[in-house]
């Protein structure tokens, strides 16, 4: 029966060759590689929804990968809320100006105080 291990053969190998063979033999145990790309892209797209401000700094992201960055309902509601608050404030200011222009000074001051109190409570 042939001797399976020949010490001279291995010990005579150059360092580079021994290193290359050793790591190759070990890595060759891996017969398959997981395809992590779908999971990575899914995780990143969820990040894009959870942290949209991070992606706002990336102007090309939405047009080039639109399916991964859908507008969220939450952000749409937030925008509508902001618009409504701004509209109410503008309407109150306009009403105050119109009222002051058409009434006497003391009445205008009194009305202004009521309006300011009201706006403060609403805010």
């Amino acid at each position: 029966m042939a001797v399976e291990r020949r010490p001279d053969v291995v010990s005579a190998m150059a360092d580079d060759r021994l290193g290359a063979i050793a790591v190759s033999l070990v890595v060759s145990e891996l017969h398959w590689t997981p395809d992590v790309a779908p999971a990575v892209m899914d995780r990143i797209s969820r990040d894009a929804v959870a942290y949209p401000e991070h992606f706002d700094r990336r102007p090309a992201s939405r047009p080039q990968y639109p399916s991964l960055l859908p507008p969220t309902e939450r952000s749409a509601q937030r925008t509508l809320g902001r618009i409504a608050v701004i509209a109410v404030i503008i309407a109150l200011v306009v009403a105050l100006v119109v009222f002051a222009a058409t009434t006497s000074g003391s009445q205008a001051t009194l009305a202004a105080e009521h309006l300011i109190t009201f706006v403060t409570e609403v805010a």
């Binding site: 399976e4 290359a20 050793a22 190759s24 890595v27 891996l30 590689t33 790309a37 990575v40 990336r58």
Partner: protein, 193 residues
């Protein structure tokens, strides 16, 4: 796929990184597909567990995407990814509570996967007997994590000295010293087997 496929100045890498940095997720997906195998191998060499290596590979690419704004466009992609993968692998191992150097048989693939590409350098082992091959692989297995990684950086991934230094987070001038020490350890373990 050979080590020379990952030249640091690879124009394809540079354009994909630049596009991904601008937010092009398709470009990032291409980079993931391009590098997931070497990153997985690097992670596996550290954790020696296919499930942990897969988790580390996944988190490497997620973390790397978040780190794109700080990535040096002139630096190689693979060394950068291996550096992140080393950190993620150690984190996975810590969280799993697994000891540092116990090997576990490679498990069968369950999720999406593809057959591994040929390992460079394996052809050189064909002249060895199975017993010799097992002895060499066993000696490599018993090396410390840093020794395994520096040998892989140079001989499996074919990284230059500077890129290996970047991947291992050490000074460029120390790569040869680390590699020499690792190979000496390999011979010592082989002789002791």
């Amino acid at each position: 796929m050979t080590g020379t496929d990952f030249a640091p100045a690879d124009a394809i890498d540079a354009s994909l990184v630049e596009a991904a940095r601008r937010g092009d997720l398709r470009a990032w997906e291409r980079l993931v597909r391009r590098y997931q195998e070497p990153v997985y191998r690097a992670a596996w060499l550290i954790v020696r567990d296919s499930r942990l290596a897969e988790a580390a590979t996944l988190s490497t690419f997620v973390r790397a995407f978040r780190a794109l704004p700080s990535h040096d466009p002139d630096a190689g992609v693979l060394p950068w990814l291996i550096r992140i993968a080393a950190g993620e692998s150690r984190q996975q191992r810590r969280e799993s509570g697994r000891p540092t150097r116990s090997s576990r048989p490679v498990e069968k693939a369950q999720g999406p996967h593809f057959p591994a590409t040929a390992v460079p350098g394996l052809a050189e082992a064909t002249g060895l007997t199975p017993t010799e091959q097992a002895a060499i692989a066993g000696a490599f297995d018993r090396l410390g994590e840093e020794d395994r990684l520096v040998i892989a950086a140079r001989y499996l991934f074919g990284l230059s000295r500077d890129d290996a230094a970047s991947a291992l987070s050490i000074a460029s001038g120390l790569v040869d010293e680390h590699l020499g020490t690792a190979l000496k350890q390999l011979r010592a373990r082989l002789a002791a087997a």
